[in-house]
């Protein structure tokens, strides 16, 4: 274990709590364009380069739309009304049929905590998603994701309106406005289901400082923060974003960090920014450079050759303890290389909370993680996730508290088999080389095996 601690470059492992996270495989678009899932997805919901460009453009690549859309939608006013604006209503459209899809996730899960197995759990289904997405004419799109499971009420995971090019004087897609409950999508290679194969995410996404316990001098008083903010949450937000010169994506947003969608519970809004640049391959605007194109082959899977770098910053303030506001900030960076069937990347995320317990004691989180995915066949993808995760309160002892710490070193190998283009079978294991949680005494070595059947239609 010491050895593992020392090998910082051996990106470590991932926590991998398989919390449901936003999903975006949208058969409504397959119907609209009479095309298959593979046009936008590698192993749905994981997006390929075309799917990502399509998403960034508000679910409409107009040049393609004019040529291949089989369901042009019901126009809400002739295009000629544009010329009459503001003396008329700007024209739009609605889909000619309900743009609604269902996604069913059925899991068989085997977990053990230390040497204590919890048995095999049938979560059949684990989650059901209702997905709706539509282009509402040039310049406006909507995406809604509602999720629920047995014994749960259905919740709105995402519901956002996407205004593209609201200021027509700017270059195309240079400025867009997304409003609604949404995932900030801080990283595009690890943050979302639409970016990765498998079931499991990384610990930094689901980490909440509320999970970190601080033990007082008497060892009987355990402090728990009320700050339940996590970087992987969906949030009510207003985001400005755009694509510059086809290869640089930027965004900046104002979010209600508590993420509960209710009235704000403090006087501060969170802000965040993201920057992404892509070298090579399909540009973020859905075009290739002159003379460029995808590498040959693929057998029905779009291939790409690209290097992508990303960086984000997130600054927030949430209720910590009582009336105390816990200010927190996070930064992350990653590098991702896509080379034909290989998709590999490394990244790091750091977060610091100023006073989550109201004791003047700060908390810090660090995660170093990596992911490698390889398409052995167009229908079979292997994946490996690694994460080393540390969440600590390094100066707790100065205030008489025991150092609270969560440490995890996770290895998560998995395989994804496409039974159909819209049906995948995932088998993924999570093995903790190290697991020490502040909420529990001592170390343990947990393990788990997830088997998921995931169908969208």
């Amino acid at each position: 274990m010491q050895l593992m601690h020392g090998r910082l470059l051996l990106l470590a492992l991932g926590l991998a709590s398989a919390l449901p996270s936003p999903a975006s495989a949208i058969p409504a678009f397959a119907r609209r364009y009479r095309t298959t899932c593979a046009s936008c997805h590698t192993a749905a919901p994981k997006l390929n380069a075309v799917g990502e460009a399509f998403r960034l453009h508000g679910y409409r690549l107009k040049r393609f739309d004019d040529a291949i859309a089989q369901d042009p939608g019901l126009p809400l006013g002739d295009d000629g009304w544009r010329d009459l604006w503001p003396r008329g209503i700007w024209p739009g459209e609605i889909p000619s049929g309900p743009p609604v899809s269902l996604r069913i996730q059925a899991d068989v899960v085997s977990l053990s905590a230390g040497r204590t197995p919890t048995g095999v759990q049938f979560r059949l289904p684990n989650e059901v998603y209702l997905l709706a997405a539509a282009s509402l004419g040039d310049g406006l799109a909507a995406f809604v994701e509602i999720e629920g499971g047995p014994g749960e009420s259905f919740e709105i995971a995402q519901a956002k309106l996407m205004f593209t090019d609201p200021i027509r004087a700017l270059p195309r897609r240079a400025l867009n406005l997304w409003i609604g409950r949404q995932n900030p999508y801080l990283f595009t290679f690890a943050d979302r289901q639409i970016d990765r194969a498998g079931v499991l995410g990384f610990a930094w996404q689901s980490f909440r400082v509320a999970d970190l316990r601080l033990t007082g001098p008497t060892r009987s008083d355990t402090l728990k923060s009320s700050n339940a903010f996590g970087l992987g949450q969906t949030l009510p937000a207003v985001e400005l974003n755009g694509i510059l010169r086809g290869r640089t994506f930027y965004s900046m947003g104002v979010a209600q960090g508590a993420g509960d969608g209710e009235d704000d519970n403090n006087q501060s809004k969170d802000v965040y920014y993201k920057v992404r640049h892509k070298w090579g391959g399909l540009r973020l605007d859905g075009e290739y450079d002159a003379g460029g194109g995808p590498p040959p082959g693929g057998d029905g899977q779009l291939r790409d050759h690209a290097i992508i770098m990303e960086h984000f910053g997130y600054f927030g303030a949430e209720p910590g303890s009582g009336t105390i506001t816990d200010r927190h900030r996070s930064f992350g960076a990653n590098v991702r290389v896509v080379r034909g069937p290989l998709d590999v990347g490394i990244g790091a995320v750091m977060r610091s909370d100023v006073d989550p317990w109201g004791t003047g004691t700060a908390a810090e989180m660090q995660s170093r993680f990596a992911k490698a995915e390889y398409l052995f066949w167009p229908w079979l993808e292997g994946s490996l996730k690694l994460e080393r995760f540390d969440a600590t309160s390094p100066v707790a002892h100065r205030n008489g508290y025991t150092r609270g710490a969560d440490e995890r070193v996770l290895v998560a190998p998995g395989v994804v088999a496409l039974l159909r283009q819209n049906a995948r079978l995932v088998i993924e294991g999570e093995f903790y080389a190290l697991e020490r949680l502040s909420a529990e005494a001592g170390r343990r070595r947990s393990a788990g095996l997830w088997t998921r059947l995931d169908v969208t239609f």
Partner: protein, 222 residues
């Protein structure tokens, strides 16, 4: 020798007869040819585009003229979706979509002819030298599919959406009529064509895996 004097009326009548004969020759000649028409359908009405072709009995070996034809890529579809050509034919694949396609042909032995990736406005072509059946697919758009069937026969057709076909101008004689579709068992029957006649055929083709067009013989079910 006295010159042969033909009465003016007789000469006029002769010229008229010659003119009528010239004009009527194609009609008479066509009448000496034969036709085959009919319907080949499958239980699944979505299965269309059955290739129908005739080979003479007894078999006559001889070159059949190659042709030049094309399959367009338009609106994420191949148009037409099935063609029948002769050995040595050149098939071009223009890309009429505003996006890239990367199409390839794969035969029944899974051998590939990859035409590479190319944008709208360009075309690639291939010469198909031997009889066989090729499935045309796009690496980038898996929903696109077409069939190119190479048969050693000048008498061939592809059924329409209703399963109908017609082949005209066939030299009278005995022929083996064969069908080919990648999802249907082959149908074969002998037809005897008489000058000016039309033979009608009709069959419901069961699903299955056919053997390559040039092998003949039995078929096996999938």
């Amino acid at each position: 020798m006295r010159p042969l004097i033909i009465p003016r009326g007789a000469a006029r009548a002769f010229r008229c007869a010659v003119a009528l004969g010239v004009l009527a020759f194609p009609v008479i000649a066509r009448g000496q040819r034969a036709s085959v028409e009919g319907t080949f359908t499958a239980r699944d009405p979505r299965v269309t585009g059955v290739v129908v072709y005739l080979t003479p009995l007894p078999a006559v070996s001889g070159p059949v003229a190659p042709i030049t034809t094309s399959i367009d890529q338009r609106g994420l579809q191949f148009l037409p979706r099935t063609i029948a050509v002769t050995p040595g034919s050149i098939v071009s694949f223009p890309n009429s979509d505003p996006l890239l396609h990367n199409i390839f042909l794969v035969d029944l032995q899974r051998a590939r002819i990859d035409l590479g990736t190319y944008p709208g406005g360009e075309l690639r072509q291939v010469t198909l030298g031997v009889s066989g059946a090729y499935l045309v697919l796009c690496h980038l758009h898996p929903e696109m599919a077409a069939s190119v069937v190479v048969v050693d026969s000048p008498y061939r057709a592809v059924t329409d959406g209703a399963g109908r076909f017609r082949i005209d101008s066939i030299e009278p004689g005995a022929y083996r009529l064969s069908t080919w579709h990648r999802l249907l068992l082959q149908h074969e029957e002998t037809v005897t064509l008489v000058p000016g006649g039309t033979v009608k055929v009709q069959a419901l083709l069961p699903g299955g895996t056919p053997i390559p067009p040039h092998h003949g013989g039995t078929t096996e079910k999938r």
